[in-house]
Amino acid sequence: MLLILWGVLIQFTIPIDNGDALKNAEADSQRTLYPYVTGTSIVAIKYKDGVLMASDMGGSYGSTLRYKNIERVKAIGKHSLLGASGEISDFQEILRYLDELVLNDNMWDDGNSLGPKEVHNYLTRVMYNRRNKFNPLWNTLVLGGVKNGEIYLGMVSMIGVSFEDNHVATGFGNHLARPILRDEWRADLSFEDGVKLLEKCMRVLLYRDRSAINKLQIAKITEEGVTVSQPYSLKTFWEFQAFHNPTAGAQGSW
């Protein structure tokens, strides 16, 4: 009887049951098969006062650099920063879930607030459960934050692999940035040194990752709160001898 009442006031979306999502062609259109608009690497490190996270502002549509003003690092609640690479629409959906989570947490009004560890755990559960249904959110997420003096940095991938570390990177950053970080990261990095280290990684990515663009933001989270920098560009150097006369070794078109 209550169903009749609820039906009067709430519109239900009628679930379309097309059967087995794995085999049925119609059901295929309801699960994520490929990413469409993607963001490239995120690089993040712990430093003396908190966490620094760097990302560029590009959204690629395949090999086209279609969107150049996408913020891929967002503040979550009072204590966390979330950076995402991969499908941008899935990132936006995750932000909606987290917005609801933070709102419900705030409405208790009991002096408590969600910390980075809790948000990371929530994201891990969401990503893993979606993967188990063969309908992943096509993102690799980086979650950093500070609560009660504890600095936290972790990562979740689209298959639900989740871990914490002193420095993390997604996508190409894993291959190009992490070796640099393994050599040069220290626990007592100052803010300036941390930014320099991140810029070093981002510059390598800019040279070598074709979906990177030269417009980046660096976000900082400390006990005091979140600051996201204005977008800026890195200086690059292209005056190598080999670039001066690129066809010197092979004249003509063939």
């Binding site: 009887m1 006031l9 609801e100 709102l103 409405m107 009004d109």
Partner: protein, 249 residues
């Protein structure tokens, strides 16, 4: 004005010969028996206050919240049966969330009050449900500025400058009418609401009470939150002083 509706008061689906639905009126009586709830719309926001009658000395202060946030920009103060109130608050939260999910924007306060009123009214239409035994004061801040609505167990919802429900509602309304609300800021409003609640609290009938207050104004960044502790203490002191001055006369 109590009339016995013998025979016509057994079900909410029965009208009396003089056109009244007694069950709804009885539900309103449940609200009248609870501690007073006051809400005012000031120049720059809304202030709500609740006279929480303390049932037992063993209760922890600040527990048993009567004012709840319904969304970032709106809050509800409940008078009457607390469990019924919880249902209404849960429904309001759900409506606000669903509106934002569908329309991408915070629910306008008018829309929210209509949805809540519609839900309260729903429970007065079927014999297998009983009306809610609680009245609600809904305060919010949207694009049209601060707004205050009151929803009664009958499902009626009106917009107010100042509203009161519960035991001392008549006395509270008289006091509110004396205030110049259009010139008052919320900071001043907090002190005035505290004074009103302290004034109409009947020491003889109900011994102890706890004052709970919330506001939505520019100072709270247009978000519904508890009145900050220092301002609340200031309001309580001012209210107690005003009472003493009155008693001294």
């Amino acid at each position: 004005m109590s009339s016995i509706g013998t025979g016509y008061d057994l079900s909410v689906t029965t009208f009396s010969p003089d056109g009244r639905v007694f069950q709804i009126e009885y539900a309103a009586k449940a609200v009248d028996n609870s501690g007073t709830v006051v809400g005012i719309k000031c120049k720059d926001g809304i202030v709500m206050g609740v006279e929480k009658l303390i049932a037992s000395k063993m209760m922890l202060p600040r527990s048993n919240r009567r004012i709840h946030s319904v969304h970032r920009h709106a809050g509800m103060a409940v008078a009457g049966l607390a469990a019924d109130g919880r249902q209404i608050v849960a429904r309001a939260k759900s409506e606000a969330r669903s509106y934002e999910s569908v329309y991408g924007d915070a629910v306008p306060v008018k829309e929210l009050s209509e949805r809540v009123a519609s839900y309260v009214h729903l429970c007065t239409l079927y014999w297998w449900l009983r009306p809610f035994g609680c009245g609600v004061i809904l305060g919010g801040y949207d694009k049209d500025g601060p707004q205050l609505y009151m929803i009664e167990p009958s499902g009626i919802s009106y917009r107010y400058f100042g509203a009161a429900i519960g035991k001392g509602k008549q006395a509270a309304k008289t006091e509110i009418e004396k205030l110049k609300l259009s010139e008052m800021t919320c900071k001043e409003g907090v002190i005035e609401v505290a004074k009103i609640i302290y004034k109409l609290h009947d020491e003889a009938k109900d011994k102890a009470f706890e004052l709970e207050m919330s506001w939505i104004c520019e100072d709270s960044k247009r978000e519904h939150q508890k009145v900050p502790d220092d301002l609340l203490e200031e309001a309580k002191t001012a209210a107690k002083t005003a009472l003493e001055e009155m008693d001294a006369d």
